[in-house]
Subunit: 194 residues, 2 copies
Amino acid sequence: MPSTPPTPVQRVQIDAGAELRLVALEMFAENGYSGTSLQQIADAAGYSKSSVLYHFRSKEALFEAALTPAVAELDLFLESIVEKLTNDEHRSGFVEEFIDLLLEHRLAAHIIINQGQTLSDIPIIDQATGLIGRIGESFMSGLPTTQQRIRLGIALAGAAYVMVALRPSAVELDDLDEVREALIDVVTELITPL
Amino acid sequence: MPSTPPTPVQRVQIDAGAELRLVALEMFAENGYSGTSLQQIADAAGYSKSSVLYHFRSKEALFEAALTPAVAELDLFLESIVEKLTNDEHRSGFVEEFIDLLLEHRLAAHIIINQGQTLSDIPIIDQATGLIGRIGESFMSGLPTTQQRIRLGIALAGAAYVMVALRPSAVELDDLDEVREALIDVVTELITPL
DNA sequence: CCCTAACCTGACCGATCGGTCAGCGCCTGC
DNA sequence: GCAGGCGCTGACCGATCGGTCAGGTTAGGG
């Protein structure tokens, strides 16, 4: 019998750091940053509080680690925006990508939207709101009337908030697809006259 | 010289309860419910923590007292809705009143929108979200397609969120009027096809 | 077989949390 | 002038907060 290969076996969930990041993301979204204690996170993940602080130097570091993937993708999205908006034909694609980005990182979006002002002194939150601001600016390069700015705000904030308001339990996969298309339609309709 | 009247004099701000309610509302909106301590509220209002707890039996009672006026007006608004919606001519008035209601109670709206899910176990929050839900239901009595529900959601949530996002410092009175009209226009445009 | 390093934990720390309580000064009606 | 209640306070309570630390356990390489 040949020697067994060097254990690439079942990697179900042995990465404690990633597991803690996920649990923390859910709880921060559900109960808020200051409303979630390290003890609660540790209990939910099946570790001790000390263990959480072994993997992450502080509560804020854990928060930052939990949000980092979403913010990184948001950053990539911003970089790709410039060419998207110069080519007029790609504008609808812009909306689609933005909605998909929000859907993929719903929990992170929930946190940034609902707690962004409160937690503005945490670096990654500051970075995220900065990115969002630059997306808005680059979109309406000639930021014309108040009415137009309000229109854009309602489109993006409304879409984000509707998505965020979806309770995780209420997410049937079919419905999610339907929601996705409806969001793309309505947002596209709102921003095309700009 | 006639006797001085029984001191109806300057009532600048001697009602400690009302003053505390106001300060608490601002701080709860700014830093969140669990992110605001009774000590911070007391300091900001110029009282001791004990004094706050003399006027309000608990932190939750103070929170409830701070939100009560807004929720009461929301309740009145819901009662007036039925006749507004049966008379087709008053539909635009509906939007106008709703926007004005949000503008008048911006801080309370901020709290209910951003912390409603988190604080769903507090009675007045439960009441407020219940009222909002009934407003939505009574508006789209025949809740038709997903697309139409999303449209309504974006209109109302977007408007509310745009308003909430206005930093208090950024509120010039002229701008506020401009924002009000823009909001009414866009929201009306969104919900008229329903 | 032992040494090391990674992982995890309970005990403990000072600070702060929401809340209680006894008592202070002051105004008012008798 | 005195009794009583209202507004307000500091001292204090147990619980919990985020965070530190010394030590226990385990797996792997020499």
